[in-house]
Symmetry: C2
Subunit: 297 residues, 2 copies
């Protein structure tokens, strides 16, 4: 069997592999970087190399008979949601979270009900199969709530900013591990992205990045975008790294791989890296007022 771990769990690999080897299993570890279930190490199970891939820490984003998705749950006391109540303005609130906390959704709903709030929870979709689950590239569970106010329970600000852009709802983010609750706005991201688009106006050559990862390969989108500018060429990439961005020497890149790369990592790239929608704005086929966050359906 092959084992795959996201970066934060890779340190478990040596011990677990050794235990499985002692128990008589033939074990191979996938050592490549992994940031999501969109990046399955399918090369370990092709051509009969391993019978099955055990992927730790993520829920499936698509259906694969030869992959076992092994959750890595992170518990917290749902009483921490009390910290998120003062910033809420509505009594009906959309509730969303990330994969490692999704098992606590029923307990969070019950807690909110006990305090007089109606929690609306979106059902699973093929890419986010758990109730109430969002990904950094899929906010369907937030949109499905139809709520004017959404409570995101999880760490970081990327998911709640994406939810704000995707839903236009007011978003409160609660970090369940620190108990910090804050209203999150998309304004600062929009200002930064507007500046990147302006910087890209001087560009002549555009590298349209096409991922070769299992759940990020948006070939039809890349082909359409490549028709929007004469100097646009499709570039296949597995890992989108600052080194490769620099070595390839294009004036500007358009990212059809993991949407977060453009938003989160712009500061690491020496060149403008636009989302598909931002490239459309640059090419005049989309209005700035129709700006939206990039999602993988």
């Amino acid at each position: 069997m092959a084992l795959q771990f996201p970066e934060g769990l890779k340190r478990q690999a040596a011990g677990l592999a050794s235990d499985l080897k002692s128990a008589g299993f033939d074990v191979i570890i996938s050592g490549d970087p992994c940031y999501g279930a969109c990046d399955l190490a399918l090369d370990t199970v092709t051509e009969g190399k391993a019978d099955v891939l055990v992927h730790f820490g993520h829920a499936p984003v698509d259906d694969r008979p030869d992959v076992i998705f092994e959750p890595w749950i992170v518990d917290f006391d749902v009483e921490v949601l009390a910290q998120a109540l003062p910033p809420l303005r509505e009594k009906t609130v959309g509730l969303v979270t990330t994969v490692q906390h999704a098992h606590l959704v029923p307990a969070m709903e019950a807690f909110l009900a006990s305090r007089g709030y109606e929690a609306r929870v979106g059902e699973g979709t093929p890419r986010t199969p758990l109730r109430g689950q969002v990904l950094g590239c899929s906010f369907a569970a937030a949109k499905a709530t139809g709520a004017r106010e959404i409570l995101f329970v999880g760490t970081g600000v990327f998911h709640p900013i994406g939810i704000a852009l995707a839903t236009r709802a007011r978003v409160i983010a609660l970090d369940p591990l620190t108990g910090t609750a804050q209203e999150v706005s998309a304004e600062s991201l929009l200002r930064r992205r507007s500046a990147v688009i302006e910087k890209a106006r001087a560009a002549w050559s555009f590298g349209i990045i096409l991922s070769t990862k299992s759940g990020q390969e948006r070939r039809a989108l890349a082909r359409r975008l490549a028709t929007l500018a004469p100097g646009a060429v499709i570039i296949t990439m597995r890992e989108v790294s600052p080194d490769q961005i620099l070595n390839l020497g294009f004036d500007c890149y358009v990212n059809t791989a993991c949407p977060r790369l453009a938003y989160d990592d712009q500061v690491r790239f020496g060149r403008p890296v636009l989302s598909p929608q931002e490239f459309e704005i640059l090419c005049g086929v989309r209005a700035w007022d129709d700006y939206t966050i990039d999602e993988i359906a």
Copy 2:
């Protein structure tokens, strides 16, 4: 068509792709790192994505009907070989070079003959198809000369050190671009590698690195090495990076991918990375006196 360039030629990609696009071709660039013909971007031509892959700058290491190998030759005036004559002790000398200079082998032979030297040149092999060509992982053309003294024409000291270890001959290296000639010895590499083996004696867990690159995947070797220690587990990796070496957390690694990774990049890795032969020495199944450089046949 898909285009693939080694790192040093990647800057040619944007201009060439644009020219080909203007001429009516449907072009895709492989943007992943590439250091040799052992790392073909076959993912660009599988499932009918492109009809053909044009790989620049390297001679083939294996036969592929869907890949065109486009040479990138680097010329120099063969008179520069005069700089290498004073350090030579023999009148019969093995002559080897790297892919970008291999077209000059006949001119170099003629120059040496004109100065009274007999140049012996090894014929091509499947992995090094050009006469007199060596790779950093294959010194067959040097061994085939049977010469007691070998003249390597090319840049850097890795190839001549490898030749010295593989042939036990005296090796003179001439950089044809600077005109610098020097005798190259393997002593310092052997001292450094001995120290790395000693450092690895404290290790309990061993990650046996198995490359997924087209010309580096030595699966049978990796499986055999994994039987030599209880804490040894096979790890598949595309790019062997310091980040992944650190994240995976093994005490020591054994490299069955590009042999140069262990020899050249040890200083970048925070853990000992042994060659297959060094791991055999560590495990007591090979004597230090049988130390040899790792080659891919």
